[in-house]
Symmetry: C3
Subunit: 253 residues, 3 copies
Amino acid sequence: MKRHLAASALVFAAGAASAQEVGTTLPDAVGRVAPALQAYSENGLFGKVWAGEELSTRDRALVTFAALTTRHETQNLATFTELALDAGVTPAELSETITHLAFYTGWGNATAAAEAMAPVFEERGIAAADLPGAQPELLPLDEEAEAARQENVSGNYSAVSQGVVDNTEQMLFLDLWLRPDLAPRDRSMVTVAALIAAGQPEQMTFHLNRAMDNGLTREEAGAMLSHLAFYAGWPRVFSALPVARDVFESREN
Amino acid sequence: MKRHLAASALVFAAGAASAQEVGTTLPDAVGRVAPALQAYSENGLFGKVWAGEELSTRDRALVTFAALTTRHETQNLATFTELALDAGVTPAELSETITHLAFYTGWGNATAAAEAMAPVFEERGIAAADLPGAQPELLPLDEEAEAARQENVSGNYSAVSQGVVDNTEQMLFLDLWLRPDLAPRDRSMVTVAALIAAGQPEQMTFHLNRAMDNGLTREEAGAMLSHLAFYAGWPRVFSALPVARDVFESREN
Amino acid sequence: MKRHLAASALVFAAGAASAQEVGTTLPDAVGRVAPALQAYSENGLFGKVWAGEELSTRDRALVTFAALTTRHETQNLATFTELALDAGVTPAELSETITHLAFYTGWGNATAAAEAMAPVFEERGIAAADLPGAQPELLPLDEEAEAARQENVSGNYSAVSQGVVDNTEQMLFLDLWLRPDLAPRDRSMVTVAALIAAGQPEQMTFHLNRAMDNGLTREEAGAMLSHLAFYAGWPRVFSALPVARDVFESREN
C-alpha cells in the first residue's frame, strides 16, 4: 500500500495536477446548464477540497468510490474507477471494496459497480486471475472483540432472525472482514463512508470506533466528513456529525 | 395463488435448480472484477439463502422485486421480473405490486419498474387486458380498524396537511389496500420490504403488525430480514431489527 | 417571478390542460403492465393533485424537479425539465436549483441532472451565457441570523471537522444562499423538498423555518407535503409530518 501511496504522491504532486485529474469526473453538460456549478466544482471541490492534506488523495478517491457505489451512481463510476487507480488504490483493493459493499449497501449496488468497472479493468489489462480469490488466507481474528460482538448481536436478535445473526457471524466477521486484500483500516473507512452516504448515522458508532481502532485518525475522519459533504450532500454529513463527535469524545477518556 | 405456489415448487424443486435460476441475476462483469463476490453470490446468496425453507422461493422473489423497485435498481429488474414469474408470482400480483409501491416508495420508482417489466410481459404474451383494471370489486373494509387509523392520522396531521390526510384515507386505505389482486398479506409484505429497503424503520411498526395480522408469520418475517440483508445491505436490516423485536414482543402479550 | 407565474397561469389555465401536460411524464409502459397505476396517475395525480390550488403549478413543478434530482431519477428528468419550463420556472432558476442541490443532495445528483437537462436547454436555445455566472452580485446577508447559525455550528462541530464548519460558512451561507437568481423562498423550498425526498426529516426543522421566514406559507408547505407523497412515497412524508407540525406549532407562539 505504501508503494502505491508513493506513486500517487507523484501523480498528484501538485494541487493543480490533482484538480485537472479530478476534473475529468465532471460531465461537460454541467458547464452548459449550470456555469456556477462548474465553477464551484473547479475552484472549490477539485482545486481545494481534493487537495486538502488532512486526507490523502488515495483515501479521498477510495472514499468517493465507496460513496458513489452506495448511491448507485453508476453513470460516472468508470471515471471514478480510473481516478482511484491513478491515485494509488490497487485493483485488488477496488475489487475487495465492492465485495465488501455488496454486504454493506446491497448486492445490486456492488454488481452495478462491477459492470461500470469491468471496461476500465479490461482496458488496463487487469484480469480476474490478478484479483483476490474466494478463499485467501485470512487475517487473524481478534477473538475477544468478536465474542463480545457476537454475544451482543445474538442476545438482542436471535429471537428475531437467527439467519441474520448467523450470517453476520459466519459471512461477515469470521470471513469478509478478515480478507487480507483490503486493510482493516480501509475496510472500516469504506464502511463508514457507505453509512454516511446511505444516511445511516444510527449504525455509525460501532464502525467509526472500529475504523479508529484500525488506524484511521481523528483528523482523517474529520476530513472524510468534509469531503463526503460534496458527494453525499451536506445534510447527510450534518446527521453524521453528532455521532462522530460522540465517538471522538468517548475515546478521549 | 396456491396453484402458482405449486408450480413454483416444481420449478424450484431442488436447491441446485433454484441456485441456477437465481444465478441468472448476476451480471457477468462480477466474475471479471470481483471473483470473491461471484463466489459469495453463488455459494452463499444463491445456493444457501434463496434455498432457505423459512420463506418460500415465491415470497423471496416478490420481496426482492419490491426491494429493488424501491432502490430504483432498474438495470437488473427485467431479470428479477422473470425470476418472480418463474417462481410463481402472477403477472397480476407484479402489476399490483408496482401500483402499490408507487404510493409507498414514489411514482418514479414504479414507472421505472414498469419500463423494465414491459418487455418481459410482452415476450410472455401478458397483455394489459389480462391485468387488474382500475376499478375491481374491492375487498371488504375492516371498518373499526380503519376508523381508528383515520382518527389517529387525522387528529395528528389535519392541521398540517389535510391533503395528506384525505389522500391517505381515500386513495390508500379505502381503495388501494382493498384491491383484490394482491393478497393483504402480500401487500403488507412488500410494504415492509420497501420500508426496510428505503431505510425507514420508523414507519415499520404499523405495517409489520398489519402484515402479521394479515398472516405473515414471525418465522417468515425473520427470514425476510435475513434475505433482505443481501439486497438492501446489512445496515438497513440492523436498523430494522429492533423494530421487529419490539413488534414481536408486543404481540406476545 | 410574477411574470412567469402569470405565463404559467395561461399555460395551465384549465385543470384539463394541466393534466394533459403533466401526463407527458408518464411512460407508455405503465399502461401495458399496470393499467391501475395509469388510472391513478391520470385521475388522481395529474387530474387532481397537480390541479390543487394550495400550491401553484409552477411551485409543484419546481418541487417535483428537486425531488427527482435528489432521488437520482434521471430517466424521466428531461420531461420534468420541460414541464417546469412550461410551468414558468425560468432556465436560470433550474440552473440555480441543481447548483444548490449539488450541495444539498450530492454532486453526482446535480451533475446527472445537468446531463438530463442539457438536451432540453439546447433545443430551446438556452445557452450558458444566458444563465447565472459564478460571481453575481450577492443578496444582502442577514448578519445577525448568520452569526447565530455559525456560532451554533462552530460550537458544536469545530472539534469534529473544521472543514465542514468552514465550507458551510464560506461556500453555503456567505455565497450559495445569497445568489440572486433563485429567490430565498424558492431556495428554501427546494431544500425542504430535497430533505423530504432523501428521508432526512431530522434536518428539516432549520430549513422549514427558514422557508417560512422567506415567505413560504403554511398552506403551501402542507400542499408540498401532500404533493411529494406521490413523488417521494407516502412513508417519506409521514416521517416529515411530525417535524412540520412541530415547526408550525412553534411559530404560533
